[in-house]
Symmetry: C2
Subunit: 345 residues, 2 copies
């Protein structure tokens, strides 16, 4: 087969001429920099579309920009992450930036490999979703390239953060279950031993929030936390352990919907019914939770909004690397569904 003949590449000069503006103006629009009016944006966008212009990453690399944003994703199977990703891509849609996902970051070593690979390839910005790396590593990444950290609490002078109020979210779940009359409310958490992560990771905050709320409702003696992982398998194992107790809980608060999936599996396997024998609540309000036959009580942490905010902060930070760091904290909401009900008599 003959490869198609290469056409002459459309350049920024062609775009400027076509739009009847300066090349500086075109460049401003491409970089999403300040000082380009909405009219200017519209003009340049139209010219770009009409000419089929696309910036050349190689050439841009030489000028220090590759128009590439890396998103580090810990687990492609967690149905919460696509929501965040949708918010990111929707926000970047009007820009020249292309998003690439670095998958398979299931630990500090893998996170280091992926972030180094992103820096190494000259990516202009990085969004790290729920990273488990040490603060030092996050700051190392952020000192190399504009970085937004999603789903980590605590602050840093070098990166911006977007997180959900996980203490509040856990308190909403415990309040809901206690209100239904449950006392033996157990929690399945993602195991954490590192002191920084215990203070900063959403999973650790949810476990803290659970304990605080249990105490606030006078249920301190029923506090029961099983440590596994935020995976379907982790939920399955955790639930099996809980159901094997001499006095099994009447309600299980799983730290994430993906964990609740495994809990539902273990409960069904034990021949018990939900919510007749055991109430189950998750966290994240994924499309999975909303699904008819599942109908899982969960906590909506507005993944789309998280993604949208992360992308906006990153665009901002890329335009001005010196601006002070921003922390955005979003409020969660309880979504009660059919997996929670009063405990059996």
């Amino acid at each position: 087969m003959e490869p198609p003949a290469p056409r002459r590449r459309v350049t920024i000069v062609d775009v400027a001429r076509h739009a009847q503006v300066s090349t500086t103006a075109v460049s401003k629009v491409l970089r999403n920099a300040y000082g380009a009016s909405p009219e200017m944006h519209a003009k340049v966008r139209r010219a770009i579309d009409e000419l089929g212009y696309r910036p050349h990453a190689g050439a841009r690399g030489l000028r220090g920009q590759t128009y590439t944003i890396g998103v580090m994703l810990p687990d492609i199977r967690n149905p919460f992450f696509p929501e965040i990703l949708d918010g990111i891509t929707a926000t970047l849609e009007g820009t020249e930036y292309q998003v690439f996902l670095g998958p398979g970051c299931n630990g500090e070593k893998a996170e280091a490999r992926v972030t180094e690979a992103m820096i190494d390839r000259g990516m202009d910005g990085i969004i790290m979703i729920a990273p488990v790396s040490s603060r030092a590593h996050l700051e190392h990444v952020a000192s190399s390239v504009p970085t937004v950290v999603v789903g980590r609490h605590g602050s840093s002078p070098v990166y911006d953060t977007v997180a959900d109020d996980d203490i509040e979210g856990a308190s909403l779940v415990v309040g809901h279950l206690a209100g239904l009359g449950h006392r033996r409310i157990a929690h399945i958490e993602h195991r954490e031993t590192d002191p920084t992560r215990l203070a900063e990771m959403p999973n650790a905050r949810r476990a803290d929030g659970y304990r605080q709320a249990m105490r606030a409702h006078g249920l301190a003696e029923w506090i029961d936390v099983v440590s596994t992982s935020y995976t379907q398998e982790g939920g399955y194992q955790g639930a099996k352990e809980l159901l094997d107790r001499p006095h099994p809980p009447t309600a299980v608060f799983a730290g994430a919907d993906v964990v609740a999936m495994g809990v539902l599996e273990a409960v069904a396997e034990a021949g018990l019914s939900v919510p007749g024998d055991v109430s189950v609540a998750g966290y994240d309000n994924t499309t999975f939770a909303a699904l008819g036959p599942i109908s899982l009580t969960s906590v909506d942490q507005a993944g789309y909004e998280i993604g949208r905010n992360a992308a906006r902060l990153l665009l901002d930070r890329m335009a001005d690397r010196q601006r002070p760091p921003v922390r955005i904290k979003l409020s969660p909401a309880l979504v009660p569904r059919r997996t929670t009900a009063p405990p059996p008599e």
Copy 2:
């Protein structure tokens, strides 16, 4: 905060010295080229690990390699794709290649944008999963960079393919349902009008396979296909349409598990039970299908094996761009579960 002081970068020369081999040998191992013995691989790998060497993508780019592989993913929510991805990453684990995912390819335009972005950034190879683009576009991509196309039938002189036998898969489902006594077996397909896609896309082949199998079982008069899309929403809409028929089907064969998710939702909403009133089968045998409370009859097309084969073909093709194209076709297997049973009396 002070950024950490840069360390001197470990070079290929350091690795060669440490491993007591030539720099050419190190380079061969890095490129996964022919002519490096397993012992040589082991020696070089050890030196790389001990020194913490990682190739510099920028420098490599100048020599024509970036050690980056792009995987084009149409829909991050389809739980089948992580299986393929696992097979790809596991196969590349022993190499220097880093995988980046291009998400959000929900149409020809988006696919063109993502593949151009990958070529533009000098990626060494591309794996396109279930692309909907024209053959001409696929061949354009493959003429620029080594390419493996996953989940498309038909052959090309310029790219390799890995696909499942979708006709056989559909026939397994229809045979299973007919064997249970169903006659009104309906199918929900992903709408397709383009003639190339009608010949090459797995969804179109599954719809063809459904029709062929219905005829083979003497059920031609009951053939009933609803065209929506391979999404949860598509399944929901398709099932609503089917359930509104004067004589609704007793079994629904959804073209993908993600479609079956929407079917289950619509059936529950209509106050009907599965499989008491309606049997439901999916396709892909995702972790979702295997989940206890869902327990969906599905077709296992060995996503992990598909991914493993795709990555191996790509490594091969990158080492020898002139070799003749390879087509790998895998055989599916039926996995009967609790959503299919004999029709109501």
